[in-house]
């Protein structure tokens, strides 16, 4: 089954605007994480939210989680050109599941 499907697939905004990316998943999770990937580089962890949490903040990032709708959103406030990257959500299942399952990502372009 598909986990961590992000939308939109691509988002283009002006510097200073807010960017919102959404993620939906299908099965129960232990936690949900957001990662960032600059072109041709590895993924960098941004923020983790557990299944019993509803909202979390880190600097200009705000993540929400709605387990009843199996969805999450990542908000980047006051975007900068340097925020241009692909953003992926990743879910971790319960039990002894060691892996993260990634979605297809949202390509964010912040125009100066």
């Amino acid at each position: 089954s598909q986990q961590g499907e992000e939308d939109p697939q691509a988002l283009s905004i002006q510097e200073g605007e807010n960017a919102t990316m959404n993620c939906s998943y299908k099965t129960s999770i232990n936690n949900l994480q957001w990662y960032r990937q600059n072109s041709g580089r590895g993924l960098v962890h941004l923020i983790l939210i557990r299944s019993n949490e509803r909202e979390k903040h880190s600097g200009r990032l705000r993540v929400t989680l709605d387990t009843s709708k199996k969805s999450s959103s990542l908000l980047i406030t006051a975007s900068r050109a340097a925020d241009t990257a692909s953003y992926f959500c990743a879910t971790k299942g319960g039990g002894s599941n060691y892996k993260l399952t990634f979605g297809k990502g949202t390509l964010l372009t912040v125009n100066p």
């Binding site: 590895g42 993924l43 960098v44 962890h45 060691y98 990634f102 979605g103 990502g105």
Partner: protein, 112 residues
Amino acid sequence: EPEVTQTPSHQVTQMGQEVILRCVPISNHLYFYWYRQILGQKVEFLVSFYNNEISEKSEIFDDQFSVERPDGSNFTLKIRSTKLEDSAMYFCASAGQGEKLFFGSGTQLSVL
């Protein structure tokens, strides 16, 4: 800051040849992973490794693939007989007691 290092950054090989992709995870980490990403597509889980054995693997990780941690520092992915469809960016990742993954910069594998 400690980081995961991968070598080589690019690998070109002929179909049917064996390749070994190398990774040095962060030194005190316990969990090790390989993921791959075909250009512009989702990040796909291949295998997780813990306590010197495979803890989970995906359908992609068939008997042409193997992983090894030959000493206390290296973590390798071997593809015995490469196929054209194995062309992708391969990422190594590691995790400590926490649940976030630290990724290397990847090895771009091109099978001709």
